[in-house]
């Protein structure tokens, strides 16, 4: 297939700037991703990207990918990376998504997107309602309402640094820095 990329989003460029030794692996990734993107909708996605086509795939197609199908956060992941906020991904967004979730992305970038994913109401804070939704998705609604409230209160108590009752990005990043496994678990292999 013919791949001619002249348009990258700023987040992809962050990686390009920060660690130039990764670019070989990154190009391989883009090549593989183009194949996957194309095979999801072969009639809509062109093989030739030289004319910079304006093609977006709807969320329903993307969350049926085997890598995402069983993930409890699949809708939120796709929404966080889509430009229009509704879940349809252009190829740019698709590459963004899988490159942030690959082993090449630096910790800071992953933290930014993990924050976006867990922020269900997109108000740039993880409030108690967001935490409750996250917990429900993590435990498949097996905990009682009382237990969920207790756990959410404990999370906010431990992680909230500035005392506003919700987690800002700085609080979230601080929490992530204490979890060394984050880099290896926030990772999807494609």
């Amino acid at each position: 297939c013919i791949l001619n990329y002249t348009v990258f989003t700023k987040h992809v460029q962050d990686k390009f700037m920060s660690d130039c030794s990764m670019t070989g692996a990154f190009f391989l990734l883009v090549y593989r991703l183009h194949g996957r993107y194309h095979e999801m909708a072969p009639n809509v996605v062109p093989m030739d990207y030289t004319k910079d086509p304006d093609v977006k795939l709807p969320m329903q197609l993307i969350i049926n990918m085997p890598e995402l199908k069983e993930n409890p956060f699949k809708e939120r992941i796709v929404e966080s990376f889509s430009e229009d906020g509704e879940g349809s991904l252009s190829f740019n967004d698709f590459v963004d998504m899988f490159s942030v979730l690959s082993e090449m992305a630096p910790r800071e970038l992953k933290a930014i997107y993990a924050f976006k994913i867990y922020d269900f109401n997109t108000d740039n804070f993880i409030c108690k309602a967001d935490l409750e939704k996250t917990l429900n998705k993590l435990t498949r609604e097996e905990l009682t309402a009382e237990e969920i409230t207790l756990v959410c209160e404990k999370v906010i108590e431990e992680a909230d640094m500035d005392g506003d009752g919700k987690l800002g990005f700085a609080d979230f990043e601080n929490m992530i820095s204490k979890a060394p496994d984050f880099l290896s678990t926030f990772h999807i292999r494609i």
Binding site: I2, L3, Q13, L101, V151, G168, K178, T185
Partner: protein
Amino acid sequence: SMSARERIKAIQKMPETMKKKREISCLLRLIFSLSLSLSSLALQSYRRFRNSLSEYFHLLQLWQKTLKAIGGKFGTGVLSYFIFLKWLLTFNIFSFLINFSFITIPQFVAAKPNNLSFTGLEIFTGAGYFQETVLYYGFYTNTTIRKTENSASYNMQLAYIFTVGIYFVICLLSLVFSMAKSFRRNFINPQTYSGQASKLLCTWDFNITNEKAVKLKQKNLSTQIKEALFEVNREVLNFSFKERFVHFVIHLAAWVASLGTAVAACAGVYFLSINNLQLFMKGHKNDLEGQAAMLVLPIVASLLNAFIPFFYSWLGLLEHFQNPRHQIYVTVTRNIILKISIIGILCYYWLNIVSASESQCWETLVGQDIYRLVLVDFIFCLLGCLFGEFVRRIIGTTVCVNLGMPEFDIARNVLDLIYAQTLTWIGIFFSPLLPGIQMITFSIVFYVKKVSLMMNCQPPRKVWRAAQMTTLFIFLLFFPSLVGVLSVIAVTVWRLKPSKECGPFRGLSSIYAAISVWIEILKNYPGSKWVVWIYQNLFQGALFFFILSTILLIVTYLYWKIIEGRKSMVKLLRKHIVNVSLTCNFGFFVDCLILL
């Protein structure tokens, strides 16, 4: 003394810093557009290389698919074992390639004919026909090989030392760099894990793609949360002095028991090997019974390695650790002590007893011993898979249903790999093609473990802190394993007398003497004076090492201070980044253009 929030508010109020923020974001945008054009150029050249990469690409896909399947069903913890195995395999492939190219291929030119007959038993015992092949040290010639009378010469002695030496230097550097990289990634914040609840947002394993595994993980997480809530609500027990004393005595007794078992195992191995040597020296070498008797030592060593860890796990359960993580660390430590002491006693036996014995070619004897150990260890690994996983699953699903399917024991399997790799590293000097054999065994183990895992095991129930355990395992590979091997090789090269009648160093007083002889020869060539100078002043002078140590200590101290300074800088910058990224928008971009 201001809180973070007040500080951010104060920064936001200052107008001068607004201008600075605009400049910073402007610079960032400029760099973005520069790298845009760079990247399109780079991609054009990539397209040209794409065709040559496509076959390599397919090979990557092969391993990639297997690892993805394993990670998808079992998570990052079990996946780390397979990635570790793949990494050790690359060490062996590299060693085999350089040994084969630089030592074995030249030897084929000057090969002696092999008069022994081949019976099938050699594959297990390594003796017999294999004794007079390139597999062992004893076969290699000490002459300078020449293809025809006037062609270039190839000094086998130097080739042997330098190939093995350079390989170990590369191994050392690669391990040090991996350790540093892993440590930096996983221990950037040395604060201990404060807060159990906040880790909820960091533990979901995005790698898992199998439906059943996801459901199981969700169930386990809810069980863990319920247990944690129960513990929090329960009162914190204050142990009385008597209870603490009892706990201390139990821990002490357990350590004494485990160390005692390790010492007993070593004593058993030592006496068995002395016995072995005596039997061998008496001359029952070539009959079937004698050859089978040679397999007793490796079988006993592998049995000890297979069953004593169960005893250690049972001890760990008896001890009632407060923190289950301590139980894992203590059990891993005990297993490592056992394995390293068995290897240690065997090395002592080889270096002190076998080398001083009157056998014709002690290095080949040592090589054969290691070959047998490696092979029997491989067979026991396969048997362990069969009984530990397959039969256990059958029992767990039909006879005793409450046992359930077995879990993959990551720590135990990784320690077995480290043991096998240590044996291979020791054996490289005495049997240069041993890494090739280990290459084959590791590949077979990879596939067998993968198939057994998929068929017989269930995903792990407890959280396995893969990142920190991987750092620990790389450290274990480096410190007892590689450093120990380097000491053994150092003793062999500097202190031991090579056998008189076989091998590339026959007749010399020590293996190192070959290098001294070479330096003496080099003194006569005016062009190589610098090599002689380096040898005399650097390797033989004590002053050089003293100065080097002092410089290293000073550099280490400076780096430590720089790291401390950078840590506080990182904290400040993080707050700044948050500030900049949340307020940066298109308006600033326009302002930048106007500013320019």
